[in-house]
Amino acid sequence: MEITPEFRSRLITMAKQNKEPDWFIKQRLQALQQVVQLNKPVIQRFKYQNWDLTPLTEFIPLTTAGAFSTDNASPSALNPRLIQFESTTIRVTLPTELLSQGVIVCDLMTALHQYGDLVAKYWGQALKDNSDQLTKYNEALVNNGIFIYVPEEVNSKQVLQLELKSNSKHEQQPFISRVLIVTQANSRLNIMQHQITSGTQVNLANCVVEVVAAENSRVEFTALDEMAAQTLTYLQRQAVVGPNARVNWSIGLFNYGDTVANFNTNLMGQGSSSEAKVVAISAQKQRLGINTGVTNGGQHTEGRIAQRGILLDNSELVFNGIGHILHGASGAKAEQENRVLMMSNQAHGNANPMLLIDENDVVAGHAASVGQVDQQQLYYLMSRGIDEETAKRMVIRGFLGTILSELDNKSVRKQFSETIERKLTNGY
C-alpha cells in the first residue's frame, strides 16, 4: 500500500477548496502518512488482516453546510434531530430552548468554520491512545461528520437523534464519518445514533464516535447499527470521562456485513464510571469481531461491560471484553460479562474476558459463556403449545432481555426489538 502523489495532492486541493482550517489539513496529511506505517487494531481471536479497510484511491470531500435547513424555531416539543445522507446534512432540528442555552448540533464542516477553536481543542482527545491504521484512516479521509457541544449545567433531556445514511448507490463511495461529542461540567446528554446504508454496491464504512465528558457530566449513548451486507464496516466508539462523570453505551450491532468494532471508555477522572452494553447478531456468512473495553485510570472508577451475541447460520462472532485497571487506580471496580448463544452448529463463536490489572486495591470480576439453545427451555415452552419458532424467539429474547430491558427509552427499546426480530427472521 502506498500513497500516490496524485491522491495526496487531490486531498490537499479539495480540503483547501473547502476552506478547511490549516490545522485540520495538516492533521489529515500527517494521519495519511501514518496509515501506511501503522497496523490494524488487534481483535483477539479474530483474523481480518486481509480485509481491505484502507483503500487509498478515492477521496470524497466534506460537504459544506449549504444544503440543509435548520428548524431552530420549532417548539421545544420537537425531538432534537440531525439527519445526514452521505456527506450532506439534510435536516437539523434543535429546539430553541437548547439553542438559546448554547447547545451546538451541526455538521463537521459548519463546526470547522464557525466553532473552529472548539473543534480544535477537543478533536482526537478521546482517541489519543489509538495509534492504529484505521483510526488514522478516518482522520485522514473523513468525509462526513457531526459536532455536538453541550455547555456547562445544560440538561438536554430529550433524546437527540442522529440519523446517518451512507450512499452505496455507486461503488467507491466510502463512508468515513466522525462524530465529536463534548459535554461540559454538570451537563447531561442523551443520544441515539442510527446508521444505515442506502444502496447495494460494495463499499467501505469507517465510523468513529468520540465523546469527551467533562466533570460530573452524564452521557447516555445508544447506537443502532444497520449497515448493509455489502458494506464492510469499521466501527469505533471511544470516550474519555472526567471526574465523577458517567458515560453509558447501549449498542445494538445489527450490521448485515462484515464488521470490526472497537469500543472503549477511558475512566480518567476520579470517581468516573461507565457501563457498556453491546448486543450483536451475526447471520449467514457474516463475520463480526468486537472489542469492548473499559480502562480504569482514576481512583474509585467503576466500569461494567455486558455483551450478548446471537449466532445464526455459518457466521462468526467474537466478543472480547477488555478491562484494564491502571497503576494508581485504587478502589477501582471492573466487571464484565460476555455471552454468546449459537443457533447453528456451523457458527463459530467466542467470548473472551480479558482483565489487565496493574493495581492491588481493586475489585474485578468476569463471566463468559458460549452455548447452544437450552433444549430443556425449548421443550418447556413447546409443552405449553407454543410453536418451535416462537419458542426459540422467546429463549433468544430472554437471553438478550436483561440488556434490552435496561434501555430507558421506550421507543428506542421498540426499535431495538423490531430490528432484532427482523434480523432473526431474515438473517439479512
Binding site: Q375, L381, S383, R384, G385, E388, G398, S405
Partner: protein
C-alpha cells in the same frame, strides 16, 4: 368426552454407559376419559415420569412399540407443541427457568397458541381470568411480572405450574410429582387448584410416590406401576392399602423381581 389411550407402550432411552438403548416402559396399557382423575403410584425408578414425558413427547424417549391415542388418533408423530394444542398438559417436576420472558407474556403466548389469529385473547379477558386464578392459588400478583420461574422457590414453581394449568384448561393434565417438596399449605393450595378443574371436560393423571397428595385430590382410579408395567388397578382405596402395606408387599404379591430403592 375426550379419551387418552395408552396401548402396549414400550419406551427406551439411550443408556450412555452401556451405549445402547435401555427399555424403561415394558408394555403399559391405560385408558382415561375426561371426567376422571387417575393416579399412578409406584416406587422410584419404575417409569412413572417416563410415561408422562413420553405422552407429552419429550424427544429423549423413544417409543419402540405400542401407541398413544388421543380421541382415537395416534399422537406419536406429533411434535410436543401440537400435542399441547390438542389438549395435553404436563405439569413438570423440574420446570425450566427462562430469563427475560415474563410469566405474563408466557401465559398469553400459551393461551393464544390455541386460538386463531382472529381470536386472540383480549387484555381484559386475560386479566380477569388471571386475577381469579391468582386468588385461587394464593399467589402474589408480583409473580406475574417476574421472569418465568427464574429465582422461584420450589413451591412457587409448583404453584406456577398449576397456574398455567388453570389458565390453559387442557383436556388432560399430567401432573408429575406435583407434591414433591411442598409444605402442607402449598399442597392444599395446589390441590384446590386441580380440584377446581374437575368436571366433564377435564381429566388428570397424577403421578406420585406417596399417598399424601391423594388425600386432597381423591382419584377415581389408582394404578400401581412397577418395573415398567401397570401391575394393579383399583379405586381410591388401593392407595390407602399401599400406604399400609408398602410396595414390597405388592411386589411379593405379584412375584416381581424388582429392586426397590426405598423399601417402604
Amino acid at each position: 368426552m375426550a379419551t387418552l389411550e395408552i396401548k402396549n407402550l414400550h419406551v427406551s432411552v439411550a443408556d450412555e454407559e452401556a451405549n445402547q438403548p435401555k427399555e424403561i416402559l415394558k408394555g403399559v396399557n391405560l385408558l382415561m376419559r375426561t371426567g376422571e382423575i387417575h393416579a399412578i403410584m409406584g416406587p422410584n425408578g419404575t417409569g412413572k415420569s417416563t410415561l408422562s414425558e413420553t405422552i407429552m413427547g419429550q424427544p429423549a424417549y423413544q417409543v419402540t412399540q405400542g401407541d398413544i391415542l388421543l380421541d382415537g388418533e395416534s399422537i406419536l408423530e406429533m411434535p410436543v407443541d401440537e400435542r399441547a394444542r390438542r389438549g395435553l398438559f404436563l405439569a413438570m417436576q423440574y420446570p425450566a427457568e427462562i430469563q427475560g420472558v415474563t410469566n405474563a407474556e408466557f401465559l398469553r403466548a400459551a393461551m393464544n397458541a390455541r386460538r386463531t389469529e382472529a381470536n386472540q385473547i383480549g387484555v381484559m379477558e386475560f386479566l380477569t381470568t388471571l386475577d381469579h386464578n391468582l386468588a385461587l392459588l394464593n399467589m402474589d400478583e408480583a409473580m406475574i411480572e417476574r421472569y418465568l420461574n427464574e429465582g422461584f422457590s420450589g413451591g412457587e414453581k409448583k404453584r406456577n405450574e398449576i397456574l398455567q394449568l388453570l389458565m390453559i384448561k387442557p383436556a388432560f393434565a399430567l401432573l408429575d410429582e406435583i407434591d414433591s417438596g411442598l409444605d402442607i399449605d402449598a399442597l392444599q393450595v395446589v390441590s384446590k387448584g386441580v380440584n377446581s378443574l374437575r368436571g366433564d371436560q377435564f381429566g388428570a393423571l397424577i403421578i406420585t410416590h406417596y399417598q399424601r397428595l391423594l388425600k386432597y385430590i381423591v382419584p377415581d382410579v389408582v394404578h400401581i406401576m412397577m418395573d415398567g408395567r401397570i401391575v394393579k388397578t383399583g379405586g381410591a382405596e388401593l392407595a390407602k392399602q399401599l400406604e399400609n402395606e408398602g410396595y414390597a408387599g405388592l411386589r411379593d404379591e405379584f412375584n416381581l423381581s424388582v429392586d426397590l430403592m426405598d423399601e417402604n
